[in-house]
């Protein structure tokens, strides 16, 4: 191999233009070609007229001739001349028809005459072969074949359906990981006390964060373009779900007087159930995104116009979101009853919807809107907390009025619900416009 490669300078050049091996159902070698020819003749001209016979003979004499050139003038034509008794091959009066029959698939598939010419050359037909069909070159032979191929009436072969993405075990396992680790951490928090509880909490947070990163790095939730860094905002939103309600309540009543103890009791209680439910919902989220991708691919294959796809993709998107929210509700109920905590439905469901939509948009290449909306939601929550503390400054007591009145009417859940709910709604409206575009679901791995 090396000897050949190193020694042959033009290998690469030949490679540029290497014709493909024949793939058609037509005849490939001489014998099958003859077989096809003969059958064609037998069907087309059962009883040849005298005139036809004459032309057949002429053509077959042509075909039998051996092209031979040599410097010393002797021709290899002797080869065929020496065997006059060989039975003349039966060729129809219309040799091009036989050729078209042989390359039927090529002709039907061709988009222009050059396409046929390229295919014919790949099958070894040269200008000298074309001369036998009374054509000057392969191009004019291909033009005749293209013109004679019937094109009207029959339905062109349809587009092959796009291959839907497969569920792969690696991302399935990875999306289960954050939930499992989070559950382990919660168990650890319940079993430990004092400093070891602190260490458990710190280690648990770190491990769950890493698992989350790994879960969204591949599979249907993975972003395919450069993503904007949104980890801090998401981290803040989840931290608020964990600590925010307790802090808000404590702040409204003049606290907090102590750091959280890591339990649901005390002056600054932790709400672990929603966070655990969110971590567990990574797996359903990935499955929902996967289902969306698969169904969207099917719709893509089935739709003829871009508008059709947009129309059919809208209910799909809504169904995906509803499915996820259903799963999240079930998980919330489960964690709430297990941990004996009040399941904070409104704020967790809106947060879940916000996170899922942001991730879906990012995964399909729309990174700007999720980053903006996440920032807005996070800062709204931060502002609510900040106003409560700022109101303690002398003369600023009125700053706390809006948050305080919200707290009085709906309780501390109102703040995250409103922030995340508005964000989720905005993203949903955006997604209804962008995720229903065909280009958002275009397969990425095109052969180039």
């Amino acid at each position: 191999m090396n000897g050949l490669d190193g020694g042959r300078p033009m290998n690469g050049l030949g490679g540029l233009d290497r014709p493909g091996a024949p793939t058609s159902a037509g005849a490939w070698d001489e014998r099958s070609g003859e077989w096809l020819d003969d059958h064609d003749d037998a069907a087309g001209a059962p009883a040849g007229l005298a005139g036809e016979r004459a032309s057949e003979d002429r053509v077959s004499a042509d075909r039998g001739a051996v092209v031979g050139t040599s410097v010393d003038g002797t021709s290899v034509d002797r080869a065929s001349a020496a065997r006059p008794d060989r039975p003349a091959r039966r060729t129809g009066a219309d040799p091009v028809k036989a050729l078209m029959h042989r390359h039927r698939e090529l002709c039907e598939r061709a988009v222009d005459p050059l396409d046929i010419a390229a295919g014919l050359e790949a099958h070894g037909i040269t200008d000298r072969t074309a001369a036998r069909f009374l054509h000057r070159d392969v191009f004019s032979l291909a033009e005749e074949m293209y013109a004679r191929t019937p094109r009207d009436g029959e339905e062109p072969p349809g587009t092959q359906p796009l291959t839907p993405p497969r569920a792969r075990p690696d991302w399935i396992l990875l999306t289960l990981l954050p939930g499992a680790l989070c559950a382990a951490t919660v168990t650890g928090l319940h079993l430990t006390h004092g400093q070891s509880r602190l260490i458990t909490a710190a280690v648990g947070t770190l491990v769950v964060t890493l698992a989350l990163r790994a879960a969204v790095a591949r599979g249907p939730l993975a972003g395919r373009h450069i993503t904007r860094p949104t980890a801090t905002r998401i981290g803040w939103l989840i931290a608020y779900a964990l600590l925010g309600d307790g802090l808000l309540r404590a702040a409204a009543t003049g606290g907090p007087d102590a750091l959280p103890t890591g339990t649901a009791q005390g002056p600054w209680p932790l709400t672990v159930a929603p966070v655990l439910a969110l971590a567990l919902s990574c797996a359903p989220a990935a499955w929902c995104a996967h289902l969306l991708a698969v169904r969207a691919r099917h719709r893509l294959s089935a739709s003829r116009a871009l508008k059709d796809f947009a129309t059919s993709a809208k209910p799909l998107l809504l169904a995906t979101l509803a499915l996820y929210l259903g799963a999240l509700t079930a998980l919330l109920t489960l964690t709430g009853t297990t941990l004996h905590e009040p399941a904070a439905y409104p704020q967790t469901l809106t947060l879940g919807a916000l996170l899922l939509l942001a991730r879906l948009l990012t995964a399909h290449g729309f990174t700007q809107a999720p980053a903006l909306v996440l920032t807005a939601a996070a800062s709204a929550e931060a502002t609510a907390l900040a106003t409560l503390f700022a109101a303690r400054l002398p003369g600023c007591a009125r700053l706390a009025t809006p948050v305080q009145s919200l707290l009085d009417i709906w309780g501390p859940a109102a703040i995250p619900t409103i922030a995340c709910g508005t964000g989720a709604l905005t993203l949903l409206l955006h997604a209804m416009r962008t995720l229903t575009r065909a280009s958002a679901h275009a397969p990425q791995d095109h052969p180039c």
Binding site: L4, G20, E30, S70, D112, F139, S303
Partner: protein, 601 residues
């Protein structure tokens, strides 16, 4: 490294540049000599170690050391880029590379005006694609369509230069929608009207890939604009880069094609849907025609490529066939020696593939054995890929079936008259040894491009029997026997004729070697390109201001030449046979000068 002013944040395709190691060479000025600065554009080739045609480019660059080369390389795969470069000679002043396999889309959208510009140009492009290919459009309409295509292409290129972000835009919904609108419009191709949404997405993605050279930052005055001429070493993306350099910087373009790129596109994706194939065939056809019409000269590598180029609308006056050059020194010993190792053996050398039709060769050899009982056949070559390996196994089995082992006498060990060998075996240390080991070299392919093995056999001074495929007749030119492909009997008779006649064999071999030394050596290749470079430069006015030693502009340093765009004389009719695109008779219309709003509709 990006060389643009910092206010531009435009480059989407990373482009790197570097100077070769070693001292910077000062240009050699000779009396009467001309230093030409050549921008050599390659795609997936030189200077990458695994590139196509790297040896040819390397010999060209090394052979023309009086000139200066800037290499602009598009790499085809990440692996190719990782494998590194071949050592570069001192006349290569710099190398800039860009990946064709990765284009970053930063997600930043266009503003309103840029969006409108994009929609306008892309819509125009889509409309041209849906209107049909070169072969179908009527004569008069074709020129108009070609102009619309050029305007749309250069419009997109200018947009990429001004605003960047073309990669994202080409994949956006706006692009897909423009394609859909064009496909559904009146007068669209029948295949295009059948296009479904997946087809549109595929076409958009493929167009994005094909148009990646538009996003490069090469077309500046310190990039390709600084070159005296652009030499695109293949069609496709490299030619597109050359076209853009011609458009933006008025650098003349020399296009070399050893294999016809358009033909490769036709053969590339036989399974795609008709709409995708039709639209992409039109795109590549139009792009090729545009490159042919703008190129100063076109150098096909053989008559086959030349015929394709003529068919695609290349002007015959621009075509200069330059045969690829081969290193003749390796074969000098064998070629000049008169003794022959084995007067009864036939040799086949090459890569083992189904298209080489070794089966037919074995059947022919069976016929040869009936006439010449002492004949032997040596098949020298390695299989190409798994398919080739399977084919080689098949051939070995067939050889064992057809020819039983035989021995000289009752007491010697027998051997098969057909042997399968590889270069590197103890007996065959080099390629020349392989050719030297036989009296007659046989080529039995059914499909062939430019037959390198045949040229090597000619350089070795061997008589040859080959099948009439590809450029064989053009290469052999009467210095060997040619038989039709897939005709074992004719092949056998030609072989027997040569085996029986050593004198004729010698005569043919000497003639073949003389012909190969005349036509297919590196020297003729390099000399031909040298002449072509000078010819192009002599016809192109110098656009730069020449500075004197103190850095002041030197007036009248270059002669003022008349440079008239378009043609002086009317183009002779009938050169482009049967429906090839005809350029407009007058001066070409440039995209820059006209705001394209409603220009062509």
């Amino acid at each position: 490294m990006d060389n643009r002013p910092s206010r531009h944040r435009l480059v989407r395709i990373r482009s790197s540049r570097c100077e070769p190691p070693g001292e910077r060479r000062l240009p050699l000025w000779e009396i009467g000599g001309v230093l030409v600065r050549i921008g050599l554009i390659t795609e997936g080739g030189y200077p990458y170690v695994s590139g196509d045609a790297r040896l040819w480019c390397d010999r060209l660059v090394r052979g023309l050391e009086q000139h200066e080369f800037d290499i602009y390389a598009l790499s085809r795969t990440e692996r190719q880029e990782d494998e590194g470069w071949v050592p570069l000679p001192a006349q290569v002043s710099r190398v800039r590379t860009a990946p064709m396999w990765a284009a970053e889309d930063d997600g930043a959208g266009y503003g309103r005006r840029a969006r409108r510009r994009f929609a306008e140009h892309y819509g125009e492009l889509a409309a041209v694609l849906c209107a049909g290919g070169l072969a179908e459009a009527p004569e008069d309409g074709s020129a108009l369509e070609a102009d619309r295509f050029g305007n749309a292409l250069y419009g997109l290129a200018e947009l990429a230069r001004d605003e960047g972000g073309l990669v994202g835009a080409l994949r956006s919904e706006a692009a897909v929608r423009a394609l859909e609108r064009a496909c559904r419009s009146r007068g669209a191709l029948r295949a295009a009207r059948e296009a479904r949404v997946p087809d549109l997405l595929t076409v958009a993605a493929q167009l994005e890939h094909a148009l990646r050279p538009l996003s490069l930052d090469w077309y500046e005055d310190d990039g390709l604009g600084a070159a005296d001429l652009c030499h695109a070493t293949s069609g496709g993306p490299a030619a597109l880069s050359g076209l853009l350099a011609h458009h933006f910087c008025d650098v003349p373009l020399l296009l070399t094609e050893y294999g016809v790129r358009l033909r490769t596109h036709y053969l590339a994706a036989p399974d795609a849907s008709p709409a995708v194939r039709a639209l992409l065939a039109t795109f590549h056809g139009r792009l090729t025609a545009e490159a042919y019409s703008r190129a100063a000269l076109i150098t096909p590598g053989n008559g086959h490529a030349r015929r394709w180029q003529e068919r695609c609308g290349a002007d015959r006056a621009k075509l200069r066939t330059v045969y690829p050059g081969m290193d003749a020194s390796r074969f000098a010993d064998v070629g000049e020696s008169t003794d022959c190792a084995d007067p009864d053996s036939l040799v086949w050398v090459g890569r083992v593939e189904p298209t080489k039709d070794l089966v037919s060769l074995l059947h022919a050899f069976a016929e040869v054995r009936k006439e010449e009982t002492k004949a032997r056949l040596r098949i020298v070559g390695t299989p190409a890929g798994s398919e080739g390996a399977a084919y080689l196994g098949h051939c070995k089995a067939l050889a064992a079936q057809l020819f039983p082992d035989e021995a000289e006498g009752p007491h010697t060990v027998g051997d098969n008259p057909v042997s399968f060998e590889e270069i590197g075996d103890p007996e065959l240390l080099s390629l020349a040894d392989a050719y030297a080991s036989g009296a007659v070299t046989v080529l039995s392919s059914v499909v062939e491009g430019f037959p390198i093995g045949l040229v090597e056999a000619m350089l070795c001074g061997r008589a040859t029997v080959s099948t009439d495929v590809g450029a064989v007749v053009e290469v052999i030119g009467g210095t060997g026997l040619v038989v039709p492909p897939r005709n074992p009997r004719a092949l056998a008779e030609a072989c027997v004729a040569l085996l029986r006649d050593p004198e004729r064999r010698e005569r043919l071999g000497a003639a073949a070697r003389a012909r190969a030394l005349e036509l297919f050596t590196v020297e003729q290749n390099v000399a031909a390109f040298h002449g072509i470079y000078l010819e192009i430069v002599s016809r192109t006015p110098v656009r730069r201001v020449v500075l004197d030693d103190s850095g002041d502009p030197l007036p009248f340093a270059v002669p003022a030449e008349a440079h008239v765009p378009g043609r002086w004389t009317e183009r002779p009719h009938g050169l482009v046979a049967r429906g090839g695109p005809a350029r407009p008779q007058g001066a070409p219309v440039r995209a820059t000068t006209i705001p394209a709003t409603g220009g062509a509709r």
